[in-house]
C-alpha cells in the first residue's frame, strides 16, 4: 500500500469520502483514508498501486486529480525533509523526462515570482529534462493549504500527478443546457455523485420511482447503466412533443439507456416483488410535500384537481386520479420496503430527504433490518438542509430474522391531512424561503 494525495473540490464536503469509498468498491481496490477533514481539499489515502489510483479517480466528480504523495509537512523545511527521505531513490527515474512544476494554493495566493522561488527550492531532485508547460510527461505539484483568511499556509504537500478525474462531465449535464427540466430537477453534479454512490456501471439496472424529468436515470446512464422510471404525474414523463424524459436521453446520446417510463404511485407500484430480486439500485428524490402537500392515490379530494389547458390532458387516461394526503415518513418507509423487496444482494438505495438544523423538526434517518446504512451526506442551505442516504441490501442469510418479522407488521400512516402529517412542510411555510436548491449557483470556492 502506498500513499496518494487526492485533490478534492471544496464543495459538498460530506459527500467526498463516501464517493471515494464507492469508487474504490467499483474499481475493486482496497482503500484506506489516512487524512481527511471537511474543511480541506487535500485528502491522503492509501492504495495498493498507481494503477488503482488511476482507476479510482477516473470517475470521480468531487476529486479533480490524484497524486503520488512525495512528502508533506507543516513548514517548507519539513516538506523538503519529508520529500528527501521518502523519494530520493525515485528522482533518477525522472531525470530526463519532460516535466513541469506548479503551485496549488487553497485559500491563499502566490505571485508568479513567489511561485518560481518555491519551485526552485525543489531543484535538489535534479531533473534535467525539458520543461514543458503543455503535455509534459510528468507533472509535479506543490500544495499549500491556508486557514480561512490566514496570511500564511499551515500545511504543505508535494506530489507527482497520476491522473485527473472526469469532473468536466458536470458541465456537460448542466441543467441550464438541458432541454427538459422542472423546478425539482436534480442538479447535474449531485445527480452524478448520487450515481457514483449507487455504483452505477455498464450492465446494471436502476429504478427511480419519482423520476420527474429523469435527472437520476441520466446520471446512471452516463456511467453505462440502464434505468426505469415512474412518476405519479404522467405529464412529467411525457413532457411535450419534443421536450420530455426521452428527449433528454437523446440530447446526450444515451437513448438505449432509458428502458421505460410509466405512470405510477409509489404506494401502489406495479412492479413485481416476492419473486427473485432484480434491481441493482433504486435512486430517488421523493417529494417533500413542500409546495402541495404530499399526495398519493386515494379517496379523499375527488374532483379537486386542476384542469390543464395546454392539450397535455388529452394524453391522460380520461380520469384524473383522486389523491389523498400521506405522511412523508410513511413514504420513506415504503421506499425502504420496496428497495428491500427488489434490490439484489449488495444492491444500493440512494434516497434524498430533507432534514433541518433546528432540533425540533429533525426527521429521523429511516432504517430497515435488510438495509445497511452505508453513508449519510448532508447538503446545507441557508435555512434548511437535506441529506442523501445510501443503503446497501444485506443478503437474506445475514439479516436479523426477528427484526425483519417485526418490520413486516409495520403500520403505514394515512388518513390524516398532509398539514398534520408533514412537519417539514409546516416549518417550511413558517419561515423558509421557497427555492429550488438545484438551480442555485453552487457558492464557494471550487
Amino acid at each position: 500500500m502506498k500513499d496518494y494525495l487526492v485533490r478534492l473540490v471544496q464543495v459538498h464536503d460530506t459527500f467526498r469520502v463516501p464517493e471515494l469509498e464507492a469508487l474504490a468498491e467499483m474499481a475493486g481496490v482496497e482503500l484506506e483514508v489516512v487524512k481527511y477533514a471537511n474543511d480541506s481539499p487535500y485528502c491522503t489515502i492509501r492504495l495498493p498501486s498507481t494503477a488503482a489510483a488511476s482507476a479510482l479517480i477516473s470517475r470521480s466528480i468531487l476529486g479533480s486529480a490524484i497524486y503520488e504523495l512525495w512528502g508533506s509537512g507543516t513548514t517548507y523545511d519539513d516538506l523538503h525533509d519529508s520529500v528527501k527521505s521518502r523519494t530520493q531513490e525515485l528522482w533518477l527515474l525522472y531525470k530526463s523526462v519532460s516535466f513541469r512544476f506548479s503551485v496549488d494554493t487553497f485559500q491563499g495566493k502566490r505571485s508568479t515570482s513567489a511561485q518560481r522561488e518555491i519551485i526552485e527550492s525543489f531543484s535538489y531532485v535534479g531533473f534535467d529534462g525539458p520543461i514543458k508547460m503543455n503535455n509534459p510527461e510528468e507533472e509535479f505539484v506543490v500544495f499549500e493549504e491556508y486557514g480561512f483568511r490566514a496570511p500564511d499556509p499551515h500545511k504543505f504537500y508535494f506530489g507527482r500527478l497520476i491522473a485527473t478525474s472526469a469532473r468536466d462531465v458536470v458541465q456537460k449535464y448542466d441543467l441550464k443546457k438541458r432541454r427538459y427540466i422542472s423546478t425539482t430537477s436534480m442538479d447535474s453534479e449531485l445527480a452524478l455523485i448520487t450515481a457514483n454512490l449507487v455504483l452505477a456501471a455498464p450492465g446494471k439496472l436502476f429504478y427511480d420511482p419519482f423520476v420527474g424529468t429523469g435527472s437520476f436515470p441520466i446520471a446512471t446512464a452516463h456511467f453505462g447503466a440502464k434505468a426505469l422510471g415512474s412518476d405519479l404525474d404522467g405529464r412529467s414523463i411525457r413532457g411535450t412533443k419534443d421536450r420530455n424524459v426521452l428527449s433528454n436521453f437523446e440530447q446526450y446520446g444515451l437513448n438505449g439507456s432509458w428502458v421505460d417510463g410509466f405512470v405510477a404511485d409509489l404506494t401502489n407500484v406495479p412492479l413485481r416483488i416476492g419473486k427473485g430480486r432484480w434491481l441493482d439500485g433504486v435512486v430517488c428524490d421523493p417529494p417533500y410535500g413542500v409546495r402541495e402537500g404530499l399526495k398519493v392515490l386515494g379517496k379523499e379530494g375527488v374532483g379537486t384537481e386542476p384542469v390543464y389547458v395546454d392539450g397535455i390532458l388529452a394524453h391522460l387516461e380520461g380520469y384524473i386520479p383522486p389523491k389523498r394526503a400521506y405522511s412523508f415518513e410513511a413514504m420513506l418507509g415504503d421506499i425502504l420496503d420496496f428497495a428491500t423487496a427488489t434490490l439484489v444482494d449488495r444492491g444500493r438505495l440512494a434516497m434524498w430527504m430533507p432534514t433541518a438544523n433546528d432540533e425540533d423538526i429533525d426527521l429521523a434517518i429511516p432504517s430497515h433490518p435488510c438495509l445497511k446504512l452505508v453513508s449519510v451526506c448532508v447538503q446545507p442551505f441557508n435555512k434548511w438542509s437535506r441529506r442523501l442516504l445510501i443503503y446497501r441490501r444485506i443478503p437474506d442469510s445475514k439479516v436479523d430474522g426477528e427484526a425483519a418479522a417485526v418490520r413486516k407488521k409495520r403500520v403505514v400512516g394515512c388518513g390524516l391531512k398532509a398539514d398534520d402529517l408533514n412537519a417539514f412542510r409546516k416549518k417550511y411555510f413558517q419561515g423558509f424561503k421557497e427555492q429550488n436548491p438545484n438551480l442555485e449557483d453552487g457558492g464557494g470556492e471550487k
Partner: protein, 130 residues
C-alpha cells in the same frame, strides 16, 4: 414500452400482488414497433438470471413472437473473443428493441386494464380500487 419491462410489471392493486395470476400482465390490442438500441452483452448477462422466463415465453406466445421454452445459458450468449452469439442478438432484439407503443395491459386476476399510449403505460388506479 419494451418487452423487458413487462417482465417486471404486475397489477398495481395490492390485493392482486399475492395472486400468481397478476403476473405477467396480458397485452391486448398491442401495437408493436421496433426501435434500435445499442447492444450490451454486460446488460444481457446481468439481466438474464433475473428474468421470469416462463412469463417471457407466455408473453411472446400472446404476441405471436418466437421464443425458446428454455432459458439460454449464460455461456450461450457469447462465443470466442466475447463476440455475441445470434441467440444473444435475438434476445436483445426481443427484450430491448421490441416495443408496445399502444394498447392495454390486462391483469389476469382482477381484469383491470391499464392503457399504454405512446409507449407509456398508466398504472394509476381509480379511487375505489386503491
Amino acid at each position: 414500452m419494451k418487452l423487458l419491462t413487462l417482465n417486471f410489471l404486475t397489477c398495481a392493486r395490492r390485493t392482486c400482488k399475492s395472486s400468481p395470476l397478476s403476473f405477467p400482465l396480458h397485452p391486448c390490442d398491442a401495437e408493436l414497433e421496433i426501435a434500435d438500441v445499442d447492444f450490451s452483452l454486460d446488460f444481457l448477462r446481468n439481466i438474464l438470471p433475473r428474468l421470469e422466463w416462463d412469463a417471457m415465453v407466455a408473453l411472446c406466445s400472446e404476441l405471436s413472437l418466437p421464443l425458446s421454452a428454455t432459458v439460454p445459458a449464460a455461456a450461450e450468449l457469447s462465443g470466442a473473443g466475447d463476440e455475441p452469439t445470434q441467440s444473444a442478438k435475438d434476445l436483445h432484439h426481443l427484450l430491448l428493441e421490441t416495443n408496445i407503443t399502444a394498447g392495454k395491459l390486462v391483469c389476469g386476476n382482477c381484469g383491470h386494464e391499464y392503457a399504454i399510449k405512446e409507449g407509456i403505460a398508466n398504472f394509476l388506479l381509480p379511487a375505489h380500487m386503491v
